[in-house]
Amino acid sequence: MPNRVLPVLGCLALALVWLLDLGVIQPNRIVPGTGHGLISAVGGPWAGLVSLVLAGCVLLSFLPLRRRYLPLLGLVGLSLALLPLLLEVFAGRHLPEDAPYARSSIGAGFWCLLFLLSLMLIEILGRLGSGRGLQLMILAVIVGSWLWILRGGGLESLSLVREFNARPDKFEQALWTHLALAFGAVGISAGLAFLLALKMIRSVAWRRPILGAVSFLQTIPSLAVFGLLIAPLSALAAAFPALQAMGIRGIGWAPALLALVAYSLLPMVRNTFVALTEVPESLADAGRGMGMNERQLFFKLKLPLALPVIVEGVRITTIQAIGLTAVAALIGAGGFGSFIFQGLGQAAMDLVLLGALPTIALALLADALLTMLAASLKPTPATA
């Protein structure tokens, strides 16, 4: 059966890459630039190559061949890996020599190409029924190749790279702050959630209040929570100088962490509780009937069976925390969000990208790694 998805995506990519601007040349950081379509941006031969590759994908996926997905994987993967070369060619052709502050930036056409090629890759990997391992490997190859191309220096003029080069140390600092806040919150709430879940398992009376409270927390929008925490925390810091000395005050990392922990509780508590209680009572009975005591039952039976679901809770929480940490920059907590909001303030869109893209990348990476972890913790192989 011919695949219908890939031709649709391929044709769409082909159309958009010709219709939209591939790249933009800006005379400086904030003045809008002039866009260049495919031919004008990279010249005839490259334009031909791009079109040829896309047409090739369409054609290949159209053919009712049995083994067409492997070559397609190669073609699309390679295209993605080498995509930044287009920008390099573009910058080389169009960047004026005498304007040191002129910069190239990425046009809608390029983004569309990137997006549609990624979709094609996802589709191909899905049809191949590939495991997470292969997917991560391909991702690593693509990202590696991008970094390698960036290293080469041909993309120095890219606005995004310029923004990064203006503040490499800040970037690193933002990365660590972001990670520390997100993972700190996940860690703390994991511990807390475990205790709460145990409490809920022990005592039925606590179930509704605890679940009600944590879902209430989840409902309140992040901005409101950050805002609401300012007053009490400032008051607290004013009342107890010791706390202030620890760095706890109305704005900064303390309210951010507190809010992130509050947000993380619901998925953690729910998943931990459900996982531990959904171990069938008949299994527990079997264990007991064989002579296990309650401790052995918990550590040998319940916990191993519950672990994948608990890790799933950790995954949801982590992704959410990474996103919310970006919002926390509004109350001075730092992290990639500070680039986003600075960029919005300065109308420097590539600074916004410098904050947004790593946040997305972090979320995707955390998602992939934790999904893999959950899969590897699955107590049993997928049923044959």
């Binding site: 008949s282 299994l283 009975d285 009937g289 064989m290 002579g291 296990m292 005591n293 049993t380 044959a384």
Partner: protein, 315 residues
């Protein structure tokens, strides 16, 4: 030996088991039957104290179970739970090795024992030992459940509808296997089922329960021939009793044996000594035989049986 003396179990105000007295002799298979919800599982689970009893006394080999450490008590009793209850995150081998591991047997002894049990229950070591429960068919899983219960060589077996969810053919095979194992090992067994044919086949004695009480506790033959009440009569299937009785006996019981077994004529048709009288009758009706030779397991002709005798004396 297991003794229940005036044992009662309540759930809230409801009485699940009501002052029952039951003695299961060493080496005996006691089968509990009764309609759904009559208290069979509850009775079983009180014996290994998964449920404490509300009143009365339960003795295992003369000792009161409430005085014993419950883990110790259970380690000495094999327990086959309804629906297998295998641990899904452990392999077949690890599931079987569970109790020996709890008992801290040495590694080699455990391996050896697992191997032995796999062989006993006709599961191939190479193909099955490292599978996970979900990768087994229902019948295989049931056998692993039985193996797990047997692993540490307990003197007592508690089996709660161990073949409950199986199709007729697998069920029959497991019953035969169970009879074979029992004839070798002679465990004191309490067996719960809702299948009367299974009960008749496996039991030394059957205890019929209704609404938490034991209505009758007797041998299969007596349960069929002399049901204590209308309830028992209905439970065992009034109409089909004649044929059911026939399945309690084998051809061996009614055949006329010559002094000496002899080699059969080549290609001769006949029955086996171990065939039940019911099977014998069905075949004879089908073939319209009135008399056939009987062969033993080695294929020697050991006697003859007549249709009239089956009909006269079979039921």
């Amino acid at each position: 030996m297991i003794e229940l003396k005036n044992v009662t179990r309540r759930f809230g105000d409801a009485v699940a088991v009501d002052r029952i007295n039951l003695t299961v002799e060493t080496g005996e298979v006691c089968v509990l039957v009764g309609s759904s919800g009559c208290g069979k599982s509850t009775t079983l689970r009180m014996i290994n104290q998964l449920l404490p009893h509300s009143e009365g006394q339960i003795l295992v080999d003369g000792n009161d179970v409430t005085a014993m450490n419950p883990e110790q008590l259970r380690l000495n009793m094999g327990y086959v739970i309804q629906g297998t209850g295998l641990f899904p995150h452990w392999t077949v081998a690890r599931n079987i090795a569970m109790v020996p591991q709890l008992l801290k047997w040495p590694r080699e002894r455990i391996d050896e024992r697992v191997h032995e049990l796999l062989t006993l229950l006709d599961l191939d070591q190479a193909t099955h030992a490292n599978k996970y429960p979900q990768q087994l068919s229902g019948g295989q899983a049931q056998r692993v459940g039985v193996a797990r219960a047997l692993a540490a060589n307990p003197n007592i077996l508690l089996m709660d509808e161990p073949f409950g969810a199986l199709d007729a053919i697998t069920r029959e095979n497991l019953q035969l296997e169970m009879l074979r194992i029992q004839s070798q090992l002679r465990k004191t067994t309490v067996f719960v089922t809702h299948d009367i044919d299974e009960a008749l086949r496996l039991a030394t004695r059957i205890a019929v329960m209704d609404q938490g009480r034991i209505i009758q506790h007797d041998t299969p033959e007596n349960i069929l021939r002399r049901p204590a009440s209308v309830f028992v009569e209905n439970l065992v299937g009034k109409q089909d009793r004649g044929l059911k009785l026939m399945s309690l006996h084998t051809v061996r019981d009614l055949m006329e044996a010559p002094p000496q077994p002899r080699e059969p004529e080549p290609g001769a048709d006949g029955l086996k000594e171990d065939d039940s009288l019911r099977v014998a009758l069905s075949i004879m009706l089908w073939q319209n035989w009135s008399q056939v030779p009987v062969f033993n397991a080695d294929g020697q002709e050991t006697g003859t049986i007549t249709r009239d005798r089956i009909i006269q004396e079979g039921a």
